[in-house]
Structure formats: structure tokens, C-alpha cells
């Protein structure tokens, strides 16, 4: 918990009082490019702050949580109990949760007209990914062959993408497509899945919270 307090000075530096500030709730859908398991989809929710500069670029500070839907599959289990079939399938459910904390840049790429823009997004941050594995099988009699186990990782990640933005008088609507790397950490454990590299499609709205702009 104390580690999170270290972020406060950073926030004060980046989002100081003399800045045009926006707060932006985000929601969307994601898929995992690093796993081909059926049903491995992500529900993305998050919030970011933007500090707008005179050049038009924006500093971003983003926190998002990606809830995975359960990827269901089946593994093999075996028993020595002569009264039971030697083999039985074991239903498996893998559910990931990703906590991402990143800072980034929003750069204007193409101005379509006065209110519509295409922008480039670049982020770097820390991702904590947790994969919870559940099996349904007759535990008292059967043993699963090469079972997956719960895993989690904390590592640095990068992401980038494009954004469409429409400006209103008192806010902005935007839609993003972002690709992220998996956390930069060596993956030693044997598993049928790998750490996630999400491709996300999100929408959000910018609420202005300070109209001052950096000189």
C-alpha cells in the first residue's frame, strides 16, 4: 500500500495546477493476441487523466482493469481406482484479470476537420496479470495430468495505438484501438496459456476539470 503513495508526488508534478486537465472514463472490449484459447475475452474498464500542453500533445496517466471472461476447455484425469474408468475429462476454466498502470502521450496525427481528429497513443507502464484456474472433476479419485495452476506476474509493458476523437463544446468523445505487449518477465512455469498481450477497443469521454493551460 505504501508503494502506491510514492505515485502521489509524480501525480503532482505531471498534473500540476497550471494545466488543462481532463478526466476520462474508459470502457471497452479486448482480445488476447498471446493466447488462442476459446472464450479468452476481456472487458476493459478504466480511467485516465490528461494534461494538455500548448503544442496540442497530451500527457496521460491511465489505470485500467481488464476482466477476462472464463476460457473453458478440458484436460485429462486418471485414476487407479479399479471401480472407475481409468480416464475422465476434467473441465477447466481459466479467468484472467489484468491491472494496468501506465503513463503515455496522446499526439495529434491527422486533423479531419475542426472537431474530428485522429491521434496516436503511446503508453509505458506496469501490468499485474493474474490467471485463476479452476477445475471441475472428481477430486477424491482422479489426478489431472499436467494441470494448469494459478499464476500471476508483475512486469513492465508498452502499448500503442490510434484514436478517433470528436470534440464537443464541453468535452470530447473518443474511440481507441490499442495493442499491448505482455509483461516483460521470463515465463518459466509450464502452462497451456501465456501472459496476456491484449488488443483492446475502447470508448471514452473527456470531462474537463481545469481549463488553465501550461505556458
Amino acid at each position: 500500500m505504501k508503494k502506491w503513495l510514492l505515485i502521489l508526488p509524480l501525480l503532482l508534478i505531471v498534473f500540476g495546477s497550471s494545466a488543462q486537465l481532463y478526466i476520462e472514463p474508459i470502457a471497452g472490449y479486448g482480445t488476447d493476441l498471446n493466447n488462442k484459447l476459446p472464450g479468452f475475452n476481456l472487458l476493459v474498464t478504466g480511467v485516465q487523466l490528461e494534461k494538455k500542453t500548448l503544442s496540442g500533445a497530451g500527457w496521460l496517466f491511465r489505470f485500467d482493469v481488464d476482466y477476462g471472461t472464463a476460457a473453458k476447455s478440458s484436460d485429462s484425469s486418471f485414476t487407479t481406482n479399479a471401480a472407475l474408468p481409468v480416464f475422465a475429462p476434467a473441465d477447466k476454466s481459466i479467468r484472467p484479470v489484468l491491472y494496468n498502470f501506465s503513463t503515455g502521450l496522446r499526439l495529434k496525427a491527422v486533423k479531419l476537420n475542426k472537431t474530428n481528429h485522429l491521434l496516436a497513443l503511446l503508453y509505458a507502464g506496469v501490468s499485474w496479470q493474474k490467471f485463476n484456474v479452476d477445475y471441475t472433476y472428481r477430486k477424491s479419485d482422479y489426478s489431472i495430468l499436467n494441470p494448469d495452476i494459478n499464476r500471476d506476474v508483475l512486469g513492465i509493458f508498452l502499448s500503442g495505438g490510434i484514436e478517433y476523437m470528436h470534440e464537443y463544446a464541453n468535452g470530447r468523445f473518443f474511440a481507441d484501438a490499442l495493442i499491448s505487449t505482455p509483461p516483460a518477465k521470463k515465463d518459466f512455469s509450464p502452462s497451456t496459456f501465456r501472459f496476456s498481450a491484449p488488443l483492446t477497443f475502447t470508448v471514452g469521454y473527456s470531462f474537463i476539470i481545469s481549463k488553465k493551460i501550461t505556458k
Binding site: F78, T79, T80, N81, A82, V86, K139, S143, I144, L145, N146, P147, I149, N150, S189, P190
Partner: protein
């Protein structure tokens, strides 16, 4: 002058001594979260067997390779022994200790009658077999060294998920052995046994 001529030899000698002490652990333990103290049931050549003996976790000793001297300490040996009867015997012997108490060493074994023609090619016949061991068609053994206790012939069940030896050269063969077992020695039970080994003709399999 004399010092400079001795120095390279001394360094080489020290290096040799250091290398003699170098070892590599060839055992991989992936914990089973649902059965405390046991490893998962696997067939990825993790080189271990774990089980409960009287509800206490028991694990085979790690497979250790010592460099330069070239020795390997195996956790499992498989041997075929000739007998005067119509069948020979194939014996499996796991050596290990209770988890958290490496001084409480012991051995768990299985003795199976096999045809006199049994060799590495017929080793594959065990694969996929679930055998009910009832002492007339083989038996389990249990020897807890520090308790000075040798239990009698045990009954039980064993399932060989993988039992494979492939020829990899003239009179050289290597492969995999994995499976699960339970054994009953009347006064004590061995439960949830699961084994996963790389096996070969070099030292730990004798099928002559």
C-alpha cells in the same frame, strides 16, 4: 620466478576442484495446490515421484548430476532380474524421504513378473495399463530406513500413463516413465503416488 611457474598449475588445480563440486539438479517440482506437499501428475520428465505415506508427504531425492566425475544420483532404478521360474521379475525402486525431514529416508518399490523375453521394446506394453496388484501378480515394497521398518508385500493399483524406451544408439535407449499408484501394506497406506521420470539404459534401467 618459481611462483609464476606454479601459479597456472595451481589455478588449474583449483578450477578442477571447483568443477568437481559443480552439480546440476535435474528434478523439477511443480506443487499440486490441492494436495499439499505433492507434485502435480505430469509426463514432462520432471524426475520425481511424490506420494503420501500414512498421510505424510514423501518425495524422491532430486536427480543430481555431478560434473567432471560424471556421476548421477538417480531417484528411480528399473531392473529386470532372472529367476528359475517361468517368469523373470521387473522391479521399480524409488528412493526418497519424507518431506521436511530428509533424514527419514526410505524406498518404495514394485515387483512385477514379466516374460523372460521382456526387453526395452516390450517395455512399451506397460503403457496405458492399469494393473491391480494383489501379491500373486506382483507386489509393492516399502522400506523406511530410519524407522528400521520393512513392510511386507503390499497390494495396490498402478496406472502406467507413459512407459517408453526408444533405441537411440547401439545398445543405448532412453525414454519416459510416468503414472500414478496406490499401495496398501495393511498397517500403512501409500496414497496419491504420481511419478514422472526420464529413463535410460545408461544407469537407471537394466533390462538385460
Amino acid at each position: 620466478m618459481k611462483t609464476s611457474s606454479i601459479l597456472p598449475d595451481a589455478l588449474l588445480f583449483a578450477l578442477c576442484l571447483a568443477c568437481l563440486g559443480c552439480t546440476k539438479n535435474l528434478t523439477t517440482v511443480v506443487e499440486d495446490k490441492e494436495r499439499r506437499g505433492l507434485a502435480i501428475f505430469s509426463n514432462t520428465k520432471n524426475n520425481l515421484m511424490t506420494c503420501y505415506i500414512g498421510a505424510t508427504p514423501w518425495r524422491t531425492s532430486p536427480r543430481i548430476v555431478t560434473f567432471l566425475s560424471g556421476g548421477t544420483r538417480y531417484e528411480l532404478t528399473v531392473a529386470k532380474s532372472a529367476t528359475s521360474s517361468a517368469l523373470d521379475t521387473l522391479s521399480f525402486n524409488w528412493s526418497g524421504a519424507f518431506l521436511g525431514n530428509i533424514n527419514q529416508t526410505g524406498n518404495i518399490g514394485l515387483v512385477l513378473p514379466v516374460p523372460k523375453t521382456f526387453d526395452y521394446t516390450t517395455f512399451l506394453s506397460l503403457q496405458g495399463q492399469r494393473l491391480a496388484i494383489n501379491t500373486s501378480n506382483g507386489y509393492f515394497t516399502l522400506n523406511l530406513v530410519n524407522n528400521n521398518t520393512v513392510y511386507g508385500k503390499g497390494t495396490g493399483n498402478i496406472y502406467f500413463h507413459k512407459a517408453q524406451l526408444d533405441s537411440i544408439g547401439p545398445r543405448i535407449y532412453g525414454g519416459t516413465l510416468s503414472g500414478i499408484f496406490d499401495a496398501d501394506f495393511n498397517t500403512i497406506k501409500v496414497e496419491n503416488g504420481r511419478f514422472d521420470h526420464s529413463v535410460g539404459s545408461d544407469v537407471n534401467v537394466f533390462l538385460r
